[in-house]
Each structure stands twice: as C-alpha cells, then as structure tokens.
C-alpha cells in the first residue's frame, strides 16, 4: 500500500454574483499555498470563480487585464490555467461542461463572460444529484429553466449543429419530463438526476452551439435589478421570445415540441410550430413560476426602449446567433408582451 499526503486550502468568499477582487484573492491564496489544481464546489458562481482563479494563479497582473469587453485590457492569457475540477450543487448554469466563466468587475456594473482560451474547461466534473436535494423549489425552477433555455436557444441558434442538436433535444426532453417533479419534491432523486443530466447536457450545448439574444435581453433586466435571479428574468420573457422565433424556424420548434413530449404530428399543421410555446407555458404553470411580474422587481414599462438598447450594446454578439435578425423594435415588442 502506498500513501499520499494531500493538502488543501479553502477559499469561501465567493458571492452569488462573483467579483474580480475575490478572483484575485483566491488566486493569491492558490499561489501562496502552491496549489496544483482548483476545485469549484457549489453553484455556477463557485465553479466560474474556480475557473478564473485557475487563470490568475498561473498568470501575472489583474484578471480584468485579460477581459475582452467593457473596460477589460484584452491581453492574451500566456500561461495555461491550473486544472479545474467542478463539483456542482445546482442544476442551471451547465458551467461544469463548458469553458465559460462570468465574473463582475467590483463596483463597476460590468459582468463579462470569458473562456475562449485553452484550460478553462474542467478536467473533471462531478455531477451528483444528491448534492442538489436541498435546493429550494423556486431556485430549482429558476435554475432548471436557465438550463432549458441554454438548450432551446442553442437548438434554434444559427450556430446549431448535429452534435449540439443531440445534446439539446435530450436536455429539453429531460427538463420536460422531470423539472416539475424536482420542484415539487426536492428529494426525488430520479427527478434530480434527470435535471442534473439535463443541465450538464445544456453545458455541452453551450460548448458546441451557444445561447442567443434572449440571454442579452435578460441580462439587461438583471444588470439593473440585481435582486432579479437570472432564471426568473428568462422566465419573464421566454414566452414572447420563443413565440417570435417559432414561426421563423418552425421545423426546429416542432422538434423541440416532440422532445417536450408533445404529439406534434397529431396537431393541425398550423398549430405545430406554436406547440412548443404552449408546452413551455404549461411547464411554467406546473413549476409554479408562470406570470412572474417585472413590476415586482422595479422594472418600469417606460424603461423598455432603454432596456432594448442596453441589451444590444452590452451583449450584442448574441444577436448574430439568432436564426433571423431581431430589430430593436422586435426586442421592444417582446419586452412589452412580457411586461406584467
């Protein structure tokens, strides 16, 4: 028998919206303790922070020097990040199966994704539904819908491909099969396992295709209303957003409806493309998250033109992944239809 002595150092300051200063603090600890790798244990914020800490434990300067958008310095990352291990305790971001990390600049209203470099994809991810049984019903639903939209957007995105389609349709099918169960009964391990799998698959969708402008539109909401959970913001706009594209790429939407368990072929032809939107609304009702009000989070109807402008200005890149062009007027109309 051979024995190994393994040391570890804990960094536990990560906030729900993780910030750059904590990345730098974590990286300093990793350097001081001469860590060989970084474990992200928790939800998306912990795992994303682990990725960014892994970069800064191996590279000089400040994290924001390397960020490509906003006030970021756009420097190339010269040294390979430390290996990252992801142990996920939520099912929503898919970050355990994608290279992306989203960090906010302290006191600066800049929340920017990063990861198009080698080494931020976890070398090992542990996805254990038993770690997810204590997530409360509301958060289970918000996170589950976030995972769902990573898959739906990745499926009707113009970046979709044969491989991302396989992951997306399976992920959609699992969410429709088990999300309501996981929300109603958090200890239902089979339902939790289905949603954990759906979430990891949605990460694979993000790794092989990617999200669309729905994520830009949500970001505009939660960036100015930090109390609004990302998943809840997506739920607010998803019906009108998906309805807009249903008629534009009907075949994609019919396949998503099939994955959601709808017997599409039994429907009259003119109802088929909208069937997925109907299923989406039904799932929201089953999960108790239908009709979340923007007004309750302080969003004013008069903000809409500003929100539409902000969504494109801050995360305009995602509009290029939409299956057809979405004008500012279209974006405003989607916000207006979603406003409650």
């Amino acid at each position: 028998m051979k024995y190994y002595f393994v040391g570890s150092a804990v960094f536990d300051k990560i906030l729900p919206n993780p910030v750059c200063s904590h990345v730098m603090e974590g990286a300093a600890l990793a350097k001081k303790e001469r860590c060989d790798f970084i474990i992200g244990l928790g939800g998306g914020s912990s795992i994303d922070s682990a990725k960014s800490i892994a970069i800064m434990a191996a590279n000089p300067g400040d994290y924001w020097d390397y960020i490509g958008g906003g006030s970021g310095g756009g420097k190339p990352v010269l040294n390979k990040p430390l290996p990252v291990v992801a142990i996920t305790t939520t099912a929503g971001t898919g970050t355990e199966a994608d290279p992306w990390t989203v960090i906010s600049k302290d006191d600066a209203n800049e929340k920017i994704g990063f990861g198009l470099i080698p080494g931020t994809m976890p070398v090992l991810s542990i996805v254990d539904p038993e770690l997810m049984t204590s997530v409360p019903p509301k958060l289970t639903a918000y996170q589950g819908f976030d995972a769902l939209f990573h898959s739906t957007e990745g499926y009707f995105s113009n970046q979709a491909n044969a491989m991302s389609d396989i992951f997306a349709l399976k992920s959609i099918s699992l969410v429709f099969k088990s999300l309501a169960k996981a929300v109603r009964s958090g200890s239902d391990l089979e339902a939790r396992a289905d949603i954990a799998m759906a979430n990891t698959l949605s990460g694979m969708v993000e790794s092989t295709s990617g999200v669309t402008s729905e994520h830009s539109m949500e970001h505009a909401l939660s960036a100015f209303h930090p109390d609004l959970p990302h998943g809840a913001g997506l739920i607010m706009i998803c019906e009108a957003y998906h309805a807009y594209f249903a008629s534009k790429v009907p075949e994609r939407f019919e396949n998503m409806a099939r994955a959601a368990g709808v017997n599409v072929d039994a429907l009259p032809a003119e109802k088929r493309s909208h069937a997925f939107v109907d299923a989406l609304v039904a799932l929201q009702k089953e999960c108790g998250v239908y009709g979340i009000c923007m007004s309750e989070y302080g969003i004013q109807k008069s903000d809409i033109p500003f929100l539409a402008k902000n969504a494109r200005e801050t995360m305009g890149g995602l509009y290029h992944a939409d299956p057809c062009a979405l004008s500012d007027e279209d974006v405003q109309a989607i916000y207006e239809k979603s406003y409650r």
Copy 2:
C-alpha cells in the same frame, strides 16, 4: 500576412489488417523526419496505425513490448504519444472518436486492441462524407452494420450509462434512417452524412460504454478466416445474438426498436422486445446482406465448439460486459442458429 512552412512525410504501407512491423517502420520515419504529429487518413486501419505510430514515435523499444494481452510485454507507456489527427474515409469503426487501436503481430495470429492510455484519442477528427462516396455498396453495408453493432452492444451492455445511451440511440436511429440509401446510392451525400455521423457517434459509444461478446464471437470467425470482413461476420451472427438478449433486457430492446423507427407501443406487449430483431433483419434485407453464409467462407458446422472456446479464450473480457451471463452452450447455440 504571416506565412508558415509546413513539411510532411508520407507513410503508405498500411495493410487492411495493420501489422506491428509497419507501426515500427512508420514510427521510425516519424522520428527521422521529426514529425510533430501524425495524421491517419483512410479507414480504421490507417487511423489505428496512426495511433500506434504516435505511441512508438515517442517511446523506446518495440510496440509489442507495451501490449497487454497475448505475447505482449505489458510495459507501461511512459511518454505521451504524438498528437493524432484522424481523417476518416469510411464509416464503420468509429476509431476517429475513440482511443482504441487494433494491430496484429506479424505472422503470429495475435490481433490485439490497445489504447487505455492518455493520448491515443485523436486531438482532431475530420469526418467528411464526401470522402466516403466511393466506398462500394457491400463494404458500405458491412461497415455500417459494424457501426450499428458498436451502438447496439454499447446500449445493452452492462457498461451503458446516460451519456453512452444518448450517443447509441441517435446512432441507431441514423443507421436505420439512411444505411439502405447509402448502400443503394453511394453518392447520396445526405445519407452518407447520416452514416458518417452514426459512425462517429458509435465511436463515442465505444469511448463511454463498449462492445459485448458479439465482437468476441465474430473475432473467432474472422481470425481463422481472414477473407471474412469483420462487418460481414457480425451480420452473420447478429440475428441470433440480438434475439438471445432481447428477452433478457426487453426495455433496452424496445428503446432500440423505437430508435429504429418502429411504433413499438402499437405492438402487442409480447412482441415488443423482439421488434428490434425484426427491424434488424429487415434492414439487412434492404441492404442486400441478409443470409451471408458461413459455409461460403469455409466455416464448418463442426468448428462451432472450437469457435465458442476460442471466442472466450481470446476476447473473454467482453463477456463481462454482457447484460447477463452467456454460457459456452449459449454461444454454441447462437453460432448454430446463425449457421448457413
């Protein structure tokens, strides 16, 4: 504009059943030319050879020193193989998406798989159906069925898991959708693309689950009758082999039938588990490969007890992946039912 000067060296001796001496010769060339990586261009034999050459270009001694079975030396591979790029011109082995390489020892009747080391999974695979349009109908069918069985075996194997299931069912569905078309009309690019995808997915099944004793049973046939293509050997025994397991793991077989496009739920309950076997026979007939005779390849009915013994002796490990134990008598019965 920056220009790069890229050199290359060609090694083109690979045989349909690639041999160890050619691996060593290729590795010597790669060392002499100081190659940075190895491209396998062709069918499974070329890509498998590229993997083995990549190992020996970076490690001392003889390839067979490292092989774990037969007369192999079982040494550990200390240096990481050169990176491997796979460009596949056939759709059957899935080797572009798995770490495995199968090489024969020269003049020794030892044909052994290898690859449970880091670095034999291709770093890049190019799967272009246009490269496959010239494969003749018979070979298209043999290779397509080989890919299919990587997926069916990997699906009812006791090694199957949520991830391998996704790849397997999609692969099965694509083979049933398009193999007959690709056989009938080799220039049908859509059908070729479906089968190319099915094959790559079957490689992913081999990477995440694995094949079962059907491959051991076929190996016993083609090892002593080298004229018999591997895919044709599998086709000979697949009906009786799959029928044996259909009643043992009926749910798995019903799901495979659904993937094959059978409306399983419309069938009487007692017919559901066998529906996949019926679909398999129908597909063989459509592809013009039903009823291939063992006798035409010189296999005698009296060889059967010897074949059953040999299958277990040479590739006994795969029997442990079967969903239930298969006795030598069961194996003999499958050979007997398959004998023509």
